[in-house]
């Protein structure tokens, strides 16, 4: 069964450093998402992406964040200058435009630790 993959599974970085979180969505999916979950809290929407453009972003997704689909398979989330409060689990998700268009498929997540 096709699945969304994410790398790395755990990333430790120092405050102020740039990080890139990588995702490989399901191959025929066209819509991509990033969500964030701070430890002990709920999962929150960050950004949606379609046709090489951001479709929607939350207030969390400020100028420190960017997303990119650099090739036909990867979807990345970049944080330019990490802060302690960026420590969280980051989930990538993708969906197609078919009959179950509302359903997103989640990757296993990347745990980001900022020290």
């Amino acid at each position: 069964e096709p699945e969304v993959t994410q790398t790395p599974s755990h990333q430790v970085t120092q405050m102020g450093q740039e990080v890139i979180l990588r995702c490989v969505p399901i191959s025929n999916h066209l819509y991509f998402y990033w969500y964030r979950q701070i430890l002990g809290q709920k999962v929150e929407f960050l950004v949606s992406f379609y046709n090489n453009e951001i479709s929607e972003k939350s207030e969390i997704f400020d100028d420190q964040f960017s997303v990119e689909r650099p090739d036909g398979s990867n979807f990345t989330l970049k944080i330019r200058s990490t802060k302690l409060e960026d420590s969280a689990m980051y989930f990538c998700a993708s969906r197609d435009a078919g009959t179950s268009a509302y359903e997103q498929y989640f990757g296993p997540g990347t745990r980001l630790t900022v020290t």
């Binding site: 819509y31 998402y33 969500y35 979950q37 809290q41 709920k42 999962v43 929150e44 929407f45 949606s48 479709s55 929607e56 939350s58 689990m89 989930f91 998700a93 969906r95 268009a101 509302y102 359903e103 997103q104 989640f106 296993p108 997540g109 745990r111």
Partner: protein, 113 residues
């Protein structure tokens, strides 16, 4: 604005017994989906069950079933014959026209042997 509320931060159930987790939501949309996700300690999001709002019949997946009350905007999850492996955080989620998921705050389920 759409919201999802899970009013039970923690629930406990005896092994082999039945437990119901509550979820309510607020929306003005008529077409939407609802989901229950399980999050074990690994923190991976595992889909448990989905419900399309236009379907009146409650969804079931083996030991998992929902009680979907559209007028009341309620979407509870019933776990029958609870097993030790069911212990996890459970999140209710809603998605509609903007396609972004809105999650509740979660319910931690403990299963007692």
């Amino acid at each position: 604005a759409q919201t999802v509320t899970q009013s039970q931060p923690e629930m406990s159930v005896q092994e082999a017994e039945t437990v119901t987790l509550s979820c309510t939501y607020d929306t003005s949309e008529s077409d939407y989906y609802l989901f229950w996700y399980k999050q074990p300690p690994s923190r991976q999001m595992i889909l448990v069950i989905r419900q399309e709002a236009y379907k009146q019949q409650n969804a079931t997946e083996n030991r998992f079933s929902v009680n979907f009350q559209k007028a009341a905007k309620s979407f509870s999850l019933k776990i029958s014959d609870s097993q030790l492996g069911d212990a996890a955080m459970y999140f209710c989620a809603y998605v509609a026209g903007t396609y972004k998921y809105i999650f509740g705050t979660g319910t931690r389920l403990k299963v007692l042997a």
